[in-house]
Point group: C2
Chain length 497, copies 2
């Protein structure tokens, strides 16, 4: 057996353990009896510990060195050359972190989650503070494992968006902020009637519709499931076991949009290269690229005129009490209404970016010691007022709204906006390559888009960096301009079908 | 840190991996998208591989030796002395089996399951034969890892019922067969009317009732769940994460009995010693002891007169169309009707044993090369005719009915009957210790029984062998006589409330 083959055999169980952890994470949020949290934290810690131990073992390094010479003559784009390159990078990072610290991070993260849930229910940041402190402290220990970086935040960001520096993100976000703040101010007076989007939307009918959307957009039958959760997410155990979740709020139909969003994540997982299935290169490229897929389906498809020309009659039939008297123009205008609001995941396309920029700024302040954790609520509320002109009534609707920090996931938030920006670049390239794309969507045909995304984005897996992946898909690395132009053109003109 | 503590730290992740595999097994049968079977087989194989690798590592042996001298002076009944004893035995077995064979067995087992499902649907044994052959061949390889045993079947049996020999089981089963065959013949003419047990039993009402039974029998709120599956089972991730399943056949209310059965398993898992939680001694003792718990709740409680005097009104209210005109005497007589039938899990208490004895005999024939796998259907059908006077119409109702052999689980079946026999011994001791027990059950009070079982059986975990556990709980090792006396007295007299 070649060293390359031996390396693959060594890595497959590591990938398996990561996927098992994903299924357990899904189970934790959808099915686990609530008292089982203690067991689950231990079990997730163990999976992390064993995956890390196996990966950082000296044998991996030895096989990597030997495999590197075996692939030297290969095309750098080949699967095997990419594997050695990607694993080398992962390995150099991983060997710096003690397995016990990895396991402790996984445990602390699993243990903080129920603490955050209770604190949010009671809107009591102080109840959450100790769990946050423990997780942040572990992140400082994690950062200390590395040296030779420009700034500590780079280390944290790299776990979610590899080979992307804080400085690069700051530059993109500065460009966005400069034009988003005035655009939001300009659109603040949007008086579109969206009152019919609030009312009685029975969850069973929402669920039927949500499943219908996934079937319509398309995944191979028998390879996915959709479940209700408090916070929607996508997970799964492999290309043929895709799990997405949504939330059925009986007063709104926002489940439809979160389903389209999670579908985008799910489709990416579904169309990853199956022949790289149990290798690190068979995974999604980065959270930013992942988010480009979810935002593309949620916004570029799911808030577009062609889609709603096709799909609106079905939604109208599902909720006749709410929508019988509302025509498609009024409906599309309503779902695109711009209105600064408290909650990121409910934000419209225009204000969304500022929610992320706020968190990115606070995270840098945390990591650089410019804000004490106990002062986070005040810092949060001040920025909400400054960027969106909104008063935060309580922590549940402010600093406690998202789960990420409970899991110690600092460096994660920026990927939401990076992905949103990239979604427009990818969408515009797809429209360019498939001139009839919007017509097809208007007929309810999604296979052309699915296949284009599969060929140009998904099948690259994790072979290349996020920016190289984007460049191969679109011809360009990340660029804020198409996104800003899209927002300005769509929203200045007013949206109607 | 003492070697004992180091040993515990080494073992905890092994226990975690086993429990993770249990949750994944539950997921496979309840929630997994059907196309995900390939991923799952790989993942279960990996969990088995890594657990086995870690356990059989020379470091475990070294720590065991050192820990053995540390516990030398302790009471042999103490947790720590028991741990060293139990782990020593497990280790001596495990080191004989290559990790790759373990993983291959786990994969072959996961891969055979869908093959069996399809073969059973089509009642086509030949479609299942290759998967069975592969699994049996792996069992032969497994047996070959050991030497110095009286017969090969001992090796397989020991994985399910440790420290119990095939010869001992043969002796007990011979005693049972000698009195069961004439008892079945004698009761064959039972003409009790049970027609009202077939009809319309809406699954949603069955589910409400099944959850009500679990709540009534009792487990801590938030620490269990009940789901529908094709084949009922109990699983879970720890004492606070207990998962039981049942099957809602719309034509019968047998879900009630399978729920009581799985509740017995679940309660055992729920009341295992929490302070031994992540140690091998914190697990159930054996499948036989496990089955004694399920059969106790299903039969000694769930088919008893006192229980139905209390519970029948609720069932009658739930299914008034079927039961309004049926009084409790007729109902109890009907659920205890003796009637030879094709399917083990639907068998009454009297004929049940012969279903197990049939499988035990066939398994010995397989292991000893006295029957070719392709001839199993004929051998099965001949025994069904001889022992129960039943003609098997097709393989789905014969040799393909149970999933165990698809998973390569040879040596498992006898534990069903061993457990059934022990359930009567345990029940009679509980009745002796709690004179008011049957009165309490007649009032719907189950805490006394739950607590007695917790104190006398569950809290022992896996510290002692099954027979030693039974001896400590009841004062006697396994004995067929109480069980036979119970059957003869209950069924010769005729059952009525």
């Amino acid at each position: 057996m070649s060293s390359l083959e031996a390396l693959k055999e060594r890595l497959a169980p590591v990938v398996d353990l990561q996927r098992v952890a994903r299924v357990l994470g899904w189970d934790l949020q959808t099915k686990m009896p609530p008292a089982g949290g203690g067991h689950r934290a231990e079990q997730l810690g163990t999976l992390q510990l064993l995956a890390h131990e196996r990966f950082v073992d000296a044998e991996t390094g030895r096989l990597l060195d030997a495999a590197a010479s075996e692939v030297e003559a290969l095309d750098p784009d080949s699967d095997d050359a990419a594997l050695v390159r990607v694993v080398r990078r992962d390995y150099e990072k991983a060997v710096r972190v003690p397995s016990e610290l990895r396991a402790e991070m996984a445990r602390a993260s699993a243990e903080a989650r129920p603490v955050w849930v209770r604190a949010k229910e009671q809107s009591d940041f102080s109840a959450f503070l100790p769990a946050l402190e423990r997780n942040v402290e572990l992140r400082f220990k994690y950062v200390d494992c590395f040296d030779g970086v420009d700034e500590p935040y780079d280390i944290l960001l790299d776990d979610f968006e590899p080979e992307t520096s804080t400085a690069e993100v700051r530059a993109i976000f500065a460009e966005l902020k400069e034009r988003l703040v005035p655009l939001i101010a300009e659109l603040r007076g949007d008086d579109t009637d969206n009152s019919f989007l609030t009312g009685e939307f029975p969850p069973d009918r929402q669920e039927r519709l949500a499943k219908g959307v996934v079937e319509l957009f398309g995944m191979r039958p028998g390879s996915w499931r959709l479940d209700p959760t408090v916070h929607p997410f996508a997970s799964g155990a492999g290309v043929n076991d895709v799990r997405i979740t949504t939330n059925y709020d009986p007063q709104t139909m926002k489940s439809l949009f979160s389903t389209m969003h999670e579908y985008g994540h799910g489709l990416y997982n579904h169309q990853l290269p199956p022949d790289l299935g149990r290798l690190p290169t068979g995974a999604p490229c980065s959270l930013g690229i992942h988010e480009s897929q979810s935002r593309l389906w949620e916004n570029l498809v799911g808030r577009s005129v062609p889609f709603w020309r096709f799909f609106y009659p079905r939604v109208q039939e599902t909720f006749p009490e709410q929508l019988a008297a509302v025509d498609v123009d009024r409906f599309v205008a309503a779902i695109n209404k711009v209105q600064p609001s408290l909650i990121r995941i409910k934000a419209d396309e225009v204000t969304y970016g500022m929610h992320v920029i706020l968190r990115f700024e606070l995270e840098q302040d945390i990591v650089n010691g410019r804000v004490a954790l106990r002062d986070l609520p005040d810092a949060w509320n001040a920025k909400m007022s400054e960027y969106l002109g909104i008063d935060v009534p309580d922590d549940a609707h402010g600093v406690l709204q998202d789960t990420h920090w409970a899991g110690g996931m600092i460096g994660y938030f920026p990927t939401y906006l990076l992905g949103t920006v990239m979604s427009v670049q990818i969408w515009e390239k797809a429209v360019e390559d498939i001139p009839e794309l919007e017509d097809a969507i208007g007929r309810g045909e999604f296979a052309p888009l699915r296949e284009w995304l599969g060929d140009h984005v998904h099948r690259l897996g994790r072979k290349f960096s996020p920016q190289e992946t984007l460049r191969r898909a679109t011809g360009s690395t990340i660029d804020a301009k198409p996104y800003l132009a899209y927002l300005e053109s769509k929203y200045r003109a007013g949206v109607a079908a």
